[in-house]
Amino acid sequence: MSIHIPILIIISPLLAAFLVLLSRKYKIILATASIITSIVFTLTLSSRVLSGDKVTYHLGGWRGPLGISLVVDELSLFFSLIVLGLGLLVIVYSMPERNYGRTYYFLLLVSLSSMIGVIYTADIFNMYVFYELLSLAVYLLIAYPKTGVTLRASFNYLIMGGVGLSFFLLGIGFLYAMTGTLDMFHIAGRLPAAFDSSMQMVIMSFVLIATGMGIKIAVFPLHGWLPDAHSMAPSPVSALLSGITVKIGIYCLIRVVYTVFSTEMFLLISSHNILIVLGVVSLLFGASMALVQKDLKRLLAYSTINQLGIVLIGLGIGTELGLTGALFHVLNHAIMKSTLFFCAGIMITETGTREVKGLSGFGRQQPAITFAFIVASLGMIGIPPINGFASKWLICLAAVEAGYTFPVVIILIASTIAAAYYFRVIQVLFGGSLKQGPMPAHEGEQVIHRGNLFRSWPIYILAAGCLLLGLLPALGISLVKPAVSLLLFHVVP
């Protein structure tokens, strides 16, 4: 049974998703149990993976370029642990909400399982299929409240995401025409020969795939869908989108750049400079747009564009230090942004408004939640004892080492702007007394109490994670280190 673990990790949430649709009562228990099962399976794999050998599973027994195989290596293990851990917290956070029915949990489980599918697969077309499944589930999760704004945001995302995935599929077609196979490791083995004979096609396929993924991770000129989608969705879904789903795009980009197109080819077509430029532009854009927002969740959404720019800069530098910083920042951003969105969800239900101004006095009412919010936002700015500082510092160090001084200046400027907008929110939180504005429709004290219990646990856990990773950055770096050494010094099997 132990050789079947990789497929069981993917199938168990998927099976639970369909069982959720069939049973009326046990939806939450089923969802939680299946995710916990997947986490346990992943942890049993981790010792084998970290000791250095890849876990490979051939679906249907067809190996090599013939069929589809699942490969769990250090990079996919790292990303799948982030996805499963945060996914469990998202499910726990959305438990107290009564009007999330069966369809909600179904879509949540399908999206989590398809994310793991994207991460584990070694076949590039299968990656496309899973990405499309993930996108469909996410469009529906955004449109879940069925109000006009969410439907519009979901439709915008559908159009942009559809175009992006079409680009991705066309890039896959180019790769297939050049190499005649779809398995990523085999493509990587055959691509240098194709590069010698027709360089422009290799470049074109890279451009197509990078554009497709660029739409999904919302780099500057292609970011149009993100602020609406991330801010209008229900709060747990916002945390899911901003914390995990965007990271899947980054994973695909890393996979394609470092496994399919090798590092040498990446440097040869000088795409690292393009990544750095895009990162710098979206960093500045996200920071300056977040500064002028009045809506709390929209501010957080623009902040996501800002932080993803930093990750792109780290990826573009491409040295060992830069990659370590980038992957560490992926982990940190996932933790911090989910904390912020969880807190924002509580703030919005308590005060009944989405405006930053309406939050005044919340800090005195619920000090613990506010403390978590402050910890996470200090991490976003990059103030030393919190985890965001460590990864930003690593990226800056790598940039200086590799001779890029300009991005460092930009990162520092953007951090100052981030400080400006986060401190504005914090100031309002401790400002005057809570205005008795339009209070939300709370019926019955009991619901609120139960809600607060389940809603605050995930926040405390995540905030503790922020502090832990900030005080002991060596812990986080030791998580990232195997993946980086795999990416830079890998051998094609």
Partner: protein
């Protein structure tokens, strides 16, 4: 002009439709055109000169076929891609129906003005 070039041209036409049209349904049409062009692209990169459809004769017992057959893999991939395209289109049309019943318009300029 081989079918490969034509498929890329059609892809760009679809992209133009998605980007420049204001009507939501026309945007979805553009998406469908892009999907169709990708199907044409994949089928034409698998074509061999004089190739027949990849279905062997009824009597063969596993010998190497003497006839030339086109590459079956892109065709199998496109079966998947077509179904995915249909799913996206169906979902988008359902969203459009719902959006229309909320805002009474399909024009994206007017939609972005409404709050």
């Amino acid at each position: 002009m081989t079918p490969i070039n034509i498929s890329l041209l059609v892809f760009m036409i679809g992209l133009y439709g998605v980007m420049s049209k204001n009507n939501l349904i026309k945007k979805i049409m553009g998406l469908t055109i892009m999907n169709g062009s990708i199907v044409l692209f994949f089928i034409s990169i698998g074509y061999r000169k004089g190739g027949l459809a990849p279905i062997l004769e009824k009597g063969t017992t596993g010998d190497i076929p003497t006839i030339i057959v086109v590459d079956p893999l892109p065709q199998a991939l496109m079966l998947t891609a077509i179904v995915i395209g249909i799913s996206v289109t169906a979902l988008a049309l359902a969203l459009i129906v719902k959006i229309y019943s909320k805002y009474k318009t399909l024009d994206i300029q007017q939609l972005s003005k409404e709050r």
